[in-house]
């Protein structure tokens, strides 16, 4: 049974504090996994600690999407982690930083004329 849908904001490391307590989506690079804790770095080079709901098989250095709720400036309680199939992805950090800033600051995106 699917969980009910919960809209989320797309953010980067520097925005964690601003979205504390809200559901977010953030792309991070896996540094190391130990049990249910993932240590990762964000696109704007913040080191983050992510509490996982279950096991994660991601390779070190892989980019994954973390969906969850931030607490404070560097911790996220993850609801899920989305992995991508491609190998050795060169993820555009600048592009993602630009996106996370834009998408949270544009006016009236959902207007359609």
């Amino acid at each position: 049974m699917m969980e009910a849908f919960d809209p989320r904001s797309i953010i980067n490391g520097g925005m964690l504090k601003q979205f504390s307590g809200q559901t977010v989506s953030i792309m991070v690079r896996v540094e190391s996994v130990a049990g249910s804790t993932l240590l990762a770095s964000s696109t704007d080079n913040h080191k983050l600690k992510i509490n996982l709901p279950g096991e994660l098989c991601a390779t070190d250095g892989a980019w994954v999407e973390v969906i969850g709720v931030p607490h404070g400036a560097d911790t996220i309680r993850a609801k899920e982690v989305i992995e991508f199939g491609g190998e050795k992805i060169d993820f555009d950090k600048d592009g993602y930083n630009g996106l996370s800033h834009l998408i949270n600051n544009v006016k009236a995106f959902y207007r359609s004329g």
Binding site: P7, G85, G86, F91, R111, S112, G113
Partner: protein, 244 residues
């Protein structure tokens, strides 16, 4: 590709006397909330109509029946169902997708009882997170460009010429954007396109419409569009019709 429904002749333009809803062209990148919130009818953004939408989303559920596969798609903004219609013997040709992974979906939208569904034309797995990021940037771009185009009077300069009957010819408000043209060229192109007479619009009429553009610049614009294949000259070198 799943083209067992609808008419995907996306290069067709409305003909004079056609039914009141004109066909849109092109594919617009959207997020799910934009589709879910949209009113019934064709895919439209600030008056610009499109043939199809493209979304990038996570597959949350897959349900197979004898006639179709229903995918539940979710992105950061919303969730919706997508139908992939099966033809006989198609079960083997169904797209290979994994649950809780990203896919890119092209399709048309349909309203049923107030709910929107995506009718899938093509569904592909997304292996590179850059594709997700790019899609969102493209969706942002499309939405703000469309508004910009509308504000700059996108359908200006389409006053009917001559005495041809244009009451049913809603394509005169067509805002199909031809890529590779700058705003001035785009405006001239629209003027040529919206002219419905057999011989096309004359150079004289174009000069009158675009009095702020010098003769030599207008000539350059027209020559460029001819070389690109967007327009051609008709009864003589001073009358133009568009190729689309």
């Amino acid at each position: 590709m799943n083209d067992s429904f609808g008419d995907f002749n996306a290069t067709q333009t409305a003909t004079a006397g056609a039914a009141s809803n004109q066909k849109g062209e092109g594919i617009v990148p959207l997020v799910i909330k934009q589709i879910v919130d949209a009113p019934e009818g064709n895919i439209e953004l600030f008056g610009m109509q499109y043939a199809m939408a493209c979304v990038v989303a996570i597959v949350r559920n897959i349900e197979t029946s004898s006639t179709k596969i229903t995918y539940t798609l979710e992105d950061h903004s919303g969730r919706m169902d997508a139908h992939y219609w099966l033809e006989e013997g198609d079960a083997l040709k169904a797209p290979e997708v994994m649950l809780n992974n990203y896919v890119k979906v092209y399709g048309t939208t349909r309203s049923q009882g107030g709910q929107k569904t995506l009718m899938v034309f093509k569904l592909l797995p997304v292996l590179d997170p850059n594709e997700v990021c790019t899609h969102l940037l493209e969706a942002l771009n499309a939405r703000y460009r469309a508004e910009d185009y509308q504000n700059k009077g996108g359908s200006s300069g389409v006053a009917p010429s001559g005495t041809g009957s244009i009451s049913d010819f809603t394509a005169s408000q067509s805002s199909a954007i031809v890529s590779g043209l700058d705003p001035k060229q785009q405006a001239v192109f629209q003027a040529i396109k919206s002219n419905v007479s057999e011989e096309g619009i004359s150079r004289k009429e174009l000069k009158a419409k675009f009095s702020h553009i010098s003769d030599s610049e207008l000539t350059n614009i027209v020559d460029f569009m001819i070389s690109e294949g967007h327009i051609y000259s008709s009864i003589d070198a001073d009358h133009f019709i568009c190729t689309m």
